[in-house]
């Protein structure tokens, strides 16, 4: 399963729409097999455009994207190699869910019962023979997921798959993604749900205005970012006690500061020794949301 070939490489990719909209700007990153990579960025950052270029649907202005070293359009069996579910999934409204998948099975030379298996997997068994016209957003989302997984692809590319899913659906999706990654598949998921991503992704790629602002594993991004929130009625005395210590202190509000470079235990001990009264002493864990906003706001 984890044969080489599951790697997605985006190499210096640029897309300019209509001569002036720079949707993606000299973007480079890679996505590795056996892990889930979250693809993040605010609205209009260029996530969908990037994924469409990876999938050969949008022609890059310059640069290239490959899957297992090959541009998408040259893949010999695309359905069995890459499964993709794009934003605003698109089905013929008068066609049933089952027929949509059966057409896909026909093109890819897959046995027809794959269609029914996939509908069961995504929980659409009862809606299989209904026209897509009457589907809710979450049902459409599930159907595009079924379509993406139809050929048991090595690479799975999902554009905002959690949109429209209910809490149960989101939890189920999270488990599914984990399962796919454990099987050695490459999973690239764009999302707005930062907490979801933080919970499930191994790596993140953060995009803003078409440019890469940060890429790395959650562990790398969170290294050294833990901090301690200290609240005291006498911040002046606390500042005095911290003078000369290897820490950075940033104000949070008139009665609290955020301290980096010292554990909560060390800080508590220091305050106790100096006789400073404390009203709060809490560890602040890495927060993807905060990192995201610090990287993407005000630019």
């Amino acid at each position: 399963m984890s044969a080489p070939g599951g790697q997605i490489v985006v190499d210096d990719l640029t897309k300019v729409f209509g001569g002036n909209v720079r949707a993606v700007d000299q973007l480079s990153f890679s996505v590795e097999p056996g892990s889930i990579t979250g693809f993040l960025g605010p609205n209009g950052a260029g996530k969908t455009t990037t994924l469409r270029m990876v999938l050969g649907l949008v022609r890059p202005t310059s640069g290239r994207a490959t899957i297992g070293g090959v541009p998408y359009r040259q893949l010999p069996n695309p359905t069995q190699t890459v499964g993709a579910a794009l934003e605003s999934a698109s089905f013929h409204p008068a066609r049933t869910a089952r027929n949509h998948l059966r057409i896909m099975c026909t093109v890819a030379d897959l046995p027809m019962q794959r269609a029914d298996e996939m509908l069961d997997l995504v929980g659409l068994h009862d809606a299989a023979r209904r026209k897509v016209r009457g589907f809710s957003m979450g049902m459409r989302q599930r159907l595009s997921l079924a379509a993406a997984l139809l050929g048991e692809p090595q690479v799975v590319v999902l554009d905002e798959p959690a949109n429209g899913l209910d809490p149960d659906g989101i939890r189920w999706l999270r488990g599914l993604l984990r399962h796919l990654a454990e099987q050695g598949r490459t999973v690239l998921v764009s999302s707005h749900q930062l907490n979801e991503v933080e919970e499930v992704a191994d790596r993140v790629v953060i995009l803003n205005h078409g440019r890469l602002v940060r890429a790395g594993s959650i562990a790398e991004l969170s290294a050294g970012t833990d901090s301690v929130l200290v609240r005291s009625p006498n911040l002046q005395a606390l500042h005095t006690a911290l003078t000369g210590q290897p820490v950075t202190v940033e104000p949070v509000d008139p009665t609290a500061v955020r301290v980096r470079g010292m554990s909560a235990a060390q800080l508590g001990n220091l305050a106790f020794t100096a006789g400073v009264e404390l009203h709060e002493l809490s560890l602040q864990r890495f927060d993807l949301e905060e990192l995201f906003f610090s990287l993407t706001s005000g630019q």
């Binding site: 729409f17 359009r73 698109s90 089905f91 049933t96 030379d109």
Partner: protein
């Protein structure tokens, strides 16, 4: 390539447009034949071919079906799935050309069967000799088989080139129904009529010397087939090589 063609048939079968278009072609064609037979103009075997040939307007159903066969994919964005599964735009357009030519042929066969079922007993009641082995009758009854296939191909070609459903349908129909028919009346361009779809239909269905509008020069039925093939393949080639490669967003 065979799976892609089979999938095209499945796409067609899993929605209902094909049925509506078929019903339209069969019913409209039959009504025209009935109208011809009921009128006072059919007295001798020489009058028989035009009874069938006059139903040629039903060709437009094949054209419309072809246009819908490709533009519906853009309208509902199923083209994304299609191109993800078959990244070669050439393969997609070729599969559609093949599929819709065959469907056009089947449409024409259905129309011909119903029209014959009406006309044969009617003509014998009128004591007018009728034989399919007469070349003029044969061409009027079986010519549409070829023409329906060719017009379906033109529909695919125009759809691949234009992509937008409304624009493709409206411009195609306005050209065939309006512009094409006034060409013989315009002195400077009237001899280009032989190279237009309506001109080609005239060449194939009506013996060239009789009912040529505006006395324009025609090039025979073989030439007519080539003309229609060109009208199908040139847009199909530009469509597959250029339009279908434009961004799908």
């Amino acid at each position: 390539m065979i799976p892609v063609v089979r999938a095209e048939f499945l796409k067609l079968r899993t929605t209902q447009v094909w049925l509506w278009m078929l019903a339209l072609a069969v019913i409209a064609g039959s009504l025209i034949v009935v109208g011809g037979l009921a009128s006072d103009s059919v007295h001798t075997p020489r009058d028989v071919p035009d009874v069938f040939a006059n139903a040629n307007g039903t060709l437009l159903t094949a054209f419309v079906l072809g246009v819908l066969g490709i533009t519906t994919e853009f309208r509902h964005q199923t083209i994304t799935t299609t191109l993800l599964q078959t990244p070669s735009r050439w393969a997609v357009v070729a599969a559609k050309l093949f599929t819709y030519a065959l469907v056009g042929l089947l449409y024409a066969a259905a129309c011909a069967a119903v029209q014959l079922a009406i006309a044969v007993p009617w003509l014998s009641a009128k004591r007018i000799d009728f034989t399919l082995s007469d070349p003029d009758v044969g061409r009027a009854v079986f010519g549409p088989l070829l023409l329906f296939a060719l017009f379906a191909l033109i529909g695919i070609g125009v759809g691949a080139l234009i992509r937008n459903q409304i624009v493709a349908l409206v411009s195609g129909l306005v050209f065939i129904l309006v512009i094409n028919n006034i060409i013989p009346a315009i002195p400077v361009v009237k001899n280009s009529y032989a190279y237009t779809p309506a001109g080609a239909v005239t060449e194939i269905l009506f013996p060239a010397h009789e009912s040529t509008p505006g006395d324009v020069h025609l090039i025979g039925s073989g030439g007519g087939v080539l003309v229609l093939l060109a009208w199908a393949l040139i847009p199909a080639l530009i469509g597959a090589g250029y339009s279908m490669n434009r961004d799908i967003t």
